[in-house]
Amino acid sequence: MLSDYFPLLIFLAAVFVFGLIALFFPPWLAGHSHSAAKDLPYESGIVPRSGARRKFAVSFYLTAMLFIIFDVEAIFIYPWAVILKRLAWFGVAEMAVFAAVLLVALIYVWRKGALEWGN
């Protein structure tokens, strides 16, 4: 039984080895030439005053969260769509409920004005 999985193991090992090679071989071969100016963050040709790490406005975080919610929702639809034929009407109803819940969330967010930027 175990031997059925043997090819899979070889494949995983090969992937792991290739990953190591791709990760460590090129930097070892290629030379490095760092200079003070090259390591500075690029700011359209100006020497930056401070590092690139800064506090971001909360609106960015809000937008990112909303995107993730609806993106994950989309991911759930893929496996559902693959076996929709077998699920037939039960599947459609189930997805309708799933979508309705998120639709309510979307309307709430829209009405609250979280989609407009910067207010």
Binding site: E43, S44, G45, I46, V47, P48, R49, R54, K55, F56, A57, V58, S59, F60, W117, G118
Partner: protein, 414 residues
């Protein structure tokens, strides 16, 4: 070898931080972003210090001078005829218009009148330059907003104008075709036919562009209502050209103070209504059509006759005359060696460049070189309201607004 004094400016707002502007230091969470000299959509080496509150722009301080070439200092060192070659390099999108402006200021100082054929040739070259400049603006401003194919359409049409420039003056861009008192050479044969072919083909191509952009929902959404400049603000901040006309102010130098025979041609001046980026786009596209109308009329009514004034004080005598009369050899020698001397006084001559009113304020102290030549660049004045236009605007719209201003850094920095 004089050591080039490159003063290493303590670059970037380091400890020797110069005052950012009169208002108070901004609250800490504002992020200062450098839309710096090397940026794909600043249309040249303009640096804008943006203060961002998240995505919303709170303050913009335009830092220009990265292409300052000291034209006005160089003009003081060159005779009037030598200065013509310099004038090309200032607004390098429409060099013929600079040439005509420069030479008109000298002609106004010396009170020389230009023969009608030379005036018609000047008008044709200027309108071609206007079309080429607007085409380039359409290509690059479209590029900023994602219209990648527009760049190739615009450049295909612009190459036609460059061919005409090359056929006439031998150079694609920097024509330097004017001389004080007229133009340097007569039109080569075949030029008028090529111009006629150009005029026949262009309207379809402009309609091509309009059909692609004008009703395009993305284009309209990105441009309508963005960077609106009211009529009063436009006059107050001294903007000129399509920016002024986009705000509804009916002022075009070709109509208000006709020069080079513009009063003979009938064309109308397109006006916008609410002065936003979309109106400026419509005004520029319509101006291209008007320029084609002028070109057609100038082509039909092209007078024959001399293309350079026969006033020997300023214009070189024709070569044929040199072998016959000693006097023209003297004139020729004096003009070539030291140029001509102008009266003492100061004059201001101005022309309509694709960006607006391009003025030359010439102060002469009686020598053969301009004592002081101040250029009134339209892009310099169009760029000034940037701080006012981008208050409270999203960062992406700053690109659209700067694109619609159509400034050229060679013109701004001189």
């Amino acid at each position: 070898m004089a050591e080039t004094r490159i003063k290493q400016e303590p670059f970037g707002p380091g400890p020797a931080q110069e005052p950012l502007g009169p208002e108070h230091e901004p609250p800490t969470e504002w992020m200062e972003l450098n839309m710096g000299p090397q940026h794909p959509s600043t249309h040249g080496v303009l640096r804008v210090r943006l203060k961002l509150d998240g995505e919303v722009v709170r303050d913009a301080d335009a830092d220009i001078g990265y292409l300052h070439t000291g034209f006005e200092k160089s003009f003081e060192d060159k005779t009037y005829t030598q200065g013509i070659t310099f004038s090309d390099r200032m607004d390098y999108l429409a060099p013929p218009i600079n040439n005509v402006g420069f030479v008109m200021s000298v002609e106004k100082l010396m009170e020389i009148d230009v023969p009608p054929r030379a005036q018609a040739i000047r008008v044709m070259m200027m309108e071609l330059a206007r079309i080429a400049s607007h085409e380039l603006w359409l290509g690059t401003a479209g590029l900023d907003l994602g219209v990648y194919s527009g760049f190739f359409y615009a450049w295909r049409d612009r190459e036609l104008v460059l061919d005409l420039n090359e056929l006439y003056s031998g150079v694609r861009m920097m024509t330097s075709f004017t001389r004080v008192g007229g133009v340097a050479w007569d039109l080569p044969d075949g030029w008028l036919e090529q111009l006629q072919r150009f005029i026949n083909v262009m309207p379809a191509r402009i309609d091509d562009f309009e059909s692609m952009l004008t009703q395009n929902p993305i284009w309209r959404q990105r441009l309508e209502g963005v960077g609106a400049l009211s009529r009063q603000d436009a006059i107050e901040t001294g903007v000129t050209g399509p920016m002024l006309r986009g705000s509804g102010v009916d002022y075009d130098v070709r109509k208000a103070f006709p020069y080079c025979g513009y009063e003979q041609y009938d064309f109308n001046v397109p006006l916008g209504s609410n002065g936003d980026c979309y109106d400026r786009y419509r005004v520029r596209v319509q101006e291209m059509r008007e320029s084609l109308k002028i070109l057609q009329q100038a082509l039909d009514t092209l007078p024959s006759g001399p293309w350079l004034t026969n006033n020997r004080k300023v214009a070189l005598p024709p070569r044929s005359e040199l072998s016959k009369s000693m006097e023209s050899v003297i004139h020729h020698f004096r003009l070539v060696s030291e140029g001509f001397k102008g009266p003492v006084g100061d004059v201001y001559a101005f022309v309509e460049s694709p960006r607006g009113e391009l003025g030359f304020y010439l102060v002469s102290d009686g020598t053969n070189k301009p004592y002081r030549m101040k250029v009134r660049p339209p892009s310099f004045c169009n760029l000034q309201p940037l701080k006012k236009l981008v208050q409270g605007v999203l960062l992406a719209d700053v690109i659209a607004i700067m694109g619609s201003m159509d400034f050229i850094l060679g013109d701004v920095d001189r």
